[in-house]
């Protein structure tokens, strides 16, 4: 365990940024935090979490795949993916850190998505333990310890110091380049105890999804609850786009008249055109689309991934859904019938 005084935070950031691009949560001027490229003057936000998750840095909303040039019947493929520089992301919370496991299972399974892979290899994740969880937090449901997040390096922060623990080789390598003081873990343990006390008091503490594991897929799918749950869903993509684990994407071409740029961008299974084909869609109403999103997170994904749910309990969708419908309400409603 190492530490550095809070007053030295900027020095620490400067030291990291001297070698690699550094992203930290900073206030965006509109009352929220976002991962911002650190430069002199960028201050660490005191918000619990960012609106957009750390997923953005590994799976950006829009990503250039390849270019094409066409002339007559001739076609040329021009690889022009954006170069990925090594980078460090600081201040990732336990929930987002856990989301990388889920994303890895999708993108790093065969065939490997090399765009994501490159970013994962290039990125060092420095997590920051939570000290003031919000009422919408429920990472505990998924066995995530908000006081002891994963990542290449784990940090804790109290009023005076930032405590630092390298977890991986990548983390060790970065640590070696920095000027940190050795310390014992007593301050951290004390903070963890205090925070765990708060975590126990969270309104969603005790929320348990394990019932879903014993359910037959088709039973959940055919639950009569879906109609009422989805009734007020607007079909927007807010939940999807703030979600750290949602990874559906679309591939589109943009023709500027001289060349065609193929890019991928986030997509949402909540959108009416998600599965639209020339002759219709197989999920014609919002009920089917809504069900798909939650079935995927609660049933389909765990079925294929050793029982791991496609949710990390970060609570973003609870905060941001325009009509306040979310996975907690869905899970609770479905559990009534189990």
């Amino acid at each position: 365990m190492k530490k550095i005084a809070i007053s030295q935070l900027n020095t620490l950031f400067a030291a990291i940024a001297a070698r690699k691009a550094l992203y930290i949560p900073a206030d965006d001027g509109a009352g929220a935090a976002k991962f911002t490229l650190w430069a002199e003057g960028v201050q660490l936000s005191d918000k619990l979490n960012t609106v957009r998750s750390a997923k953005d840095l590994f799976f950006p909303q829009v990503e250039q795949l390849v270019n094409f040039k066409m002339e007559g019947t001739k076609l040329e493929i021009i690889e022009n993916r954006d170069a990925t520089e090594p980078f460090v992301v600081f201040g990732v919370r336990a929930c987002d850190a856990a989301s990388f496991d889920i994303l890895d299972r999708v993108f790093l399974s065969d065939p490997v998505d090399t765009f994501y892979q490159t970013r994962r290899e290039n990125g060092v994740v420095i997590t920051l333990a939570c000290s003031r969880p919000a009422e919408t937090c429920f990472c505990g449901t998924f066995g995530i310890d908000a006081t002891n997040p994963a990542g290449d390096i784990t940090c804790w922060m109290d009023g005076e110091n930032l405590y630092w623990r390298a977890n991986t080789e990548k983390g060790e390598a970065l640590t070696a380049t920095l000027d940190l003081t050795d310390c014992d873990g007593s301050a951290v343990t004390a903070q963890q105890e205090a925070v765990r006390e708060i975590l126990r008091k969270l309104p969603l503490n005790g929320l348990d999804f394990s019932d879903f594991k014993d359910q037959k897929l088709m039973d959940v799918f055919n639950s009569p609850k879906w109609a009422a749950l989805s009734e007020s869903c607007l079909g927007c993509g807010t939940c999807t786009f703030v979600c750290p684990t949602c990874q559906c994407y679309d591939v589109q071409d943009f023709d500027n008249g001289r060349e065609v740029r193929r890019f991928r961008c986030w997509d949402s299974c909540m959108y009416s055109d998600f599965t639209m084909m020339a002759h219709g869609t197989n999920r014609p109403t919002q009920k089917e689309r809504f069900r798909q999103r939650f079935m995927h997170k609660l049933v389909y994904f765990p079925n294929n991934n050793d029982g791991i749910f496609g949710c990390v309990g970060c609570g973003r969708c609870l905060q941001k859904c325009p009509i306040h419908m979310n996975i907690v309400k869905v899970a609770k409603a479905l559990k009534e019938d189990m």
């Binding site: 909303q61 829009v62 009422e135 969270l202 309104p203 607007l234 807010t238 959108y271």
Partner: protein, 320 residues
């Protein structure tokens, strides 16, 4: 208020006025109400909620609800009633299938304005709200927590209803256009920087569009591969601008200024300013017009006079 609404909802179901009730349902916390359709007394007694966080505009749901057969009763606040009437005017809602209960509104609260972390519960008592949080109790004046859009409310009048709960209100004198005027006074460079700062946060989640009662197209041009403007994610600043310009233009003269777009934006972009700018322009250039205020007045973009101002007024109007 909540009890009166509940009683009314039950009464309307029991006396056969309505088969379904569109209202708000309780959530996990005090503030996360969800619009919901109730069909039984039991459901209403258990889950029906109306409080200072019942901000969602229910009028857009009635496009679909009024076509589901049977009759639906809906609780409509003043600003919702403008949206409702605008949708009637555009033949989107089948009036005969809706029973409108107008609900007096004194302004809704914005949970963010409570300035609290870890909210466990909110107690409404009189003019103040007592917030119980993980980190202690706090009392907030209701007036301080009122949503921005409600602070500049255009009208407390319910323009269409079958019956009323509470008092009928009046149009207000609130200064809706102060913020717009402030922007107008800036230099184009400043305005550009302002909007770049705001719009660059857009994640194209479409919440603003999907919640907007004026954006009720069967198929939005941005979802339509044939429209030439389809885009799913803003690839660059142009597409960020494009989406919001076209959206604002499409609701010009149809936007009732309900403010839902800004309420739902997960990135807190003040989208309503774009619409208000256009409303201000319309009022100044073509005479006062309030979308949804009545069924007859021709919307400004499908109307004209021979001596309308020329587009060059944008250059001549002065300002920055």
């Amino acid at each position: 208020m909540q009890e009166r609404l509940k009683q009314k909802a039950i009464e309307l179901l029991q006396n056969g006025t309505a088969d379904r009730i569109l209202g708000w349902k309780a959530g996990e916390f005090f503030y996360d109400l969800t619009p919901a359709v109730f069909t039984s007394k039991e459901q209403i007694e258990k889950d029906f909620v109306f409080n200072v966080f019942a901000g969602a505009n229910l009028s857009k749901y009635l496009i679909a609800e009024s076509r589901k057969g049977g009759k639906v009763a809906a609780f409509i606040k003043p600003c919702d009633s403008y949206s409702f009437q605008q949708l009637l005017k555009e033949h989107r809602i089948l009036r005969d299938n809706v029973y409108v209960v107008g609900v007096q509104c004194d302004g809704m609260c914005d949970v963010a304005k409570l300035g609290c972390e870890g909210i466990l519960g909110v107690q409404e008592d009189g003019e103040s709200l007592t917030v119980d949080t993980l980190y202690g109790k706090k009392t907030v004046k209701k007036a301080d927590a009122i949503a921005d859009r409600c602070a500049t409310c255009k009208s407390k009048k319910i323009v269409v209803f079958d019956e009323l709960i509470g008092e009928q209100g009046e149009e207000t004198e609130a200064d809706r256009f102060g913020e717009v005027a402030k922007l107008e006074a800036m230099t184009p460079e400043e305005r550009f920087d302002f909007w770049r700062g705001e719009l660059s946060r857009c994640i194209r989640c479409n919440a603003c569009r999907n919640v907007c009662p004026a954006c009720s197209c069967e198929k939005c041009v941005f979802d339509n591969a044939n429209s030439g403007v389809r885009n799913k994610a803003a690839a660059d600043s142009f597409e960020e601008n494009m989406f919001h310009i076209i959206r604002a233009f499409h609701v010009t003269g149809r936007c009732t200024d309900c403010g839902e777009c800004s309420r739902v934006c997960p990135q807190n972009i003040p989208l309503h300013l774009l619409n208000r700018k256009l409303i201000k322009d319309i009022n100044e250039l073509y005479g006062p017009y309030q979308a949804g205020a009545d069924m007859d007045t021709k919307p400004p973009l499908t109307n004209f006079t021979v001596d309308d101002c020329e587009p060059s007024i944008v250059h001549e109007r002065g300002g920055q």
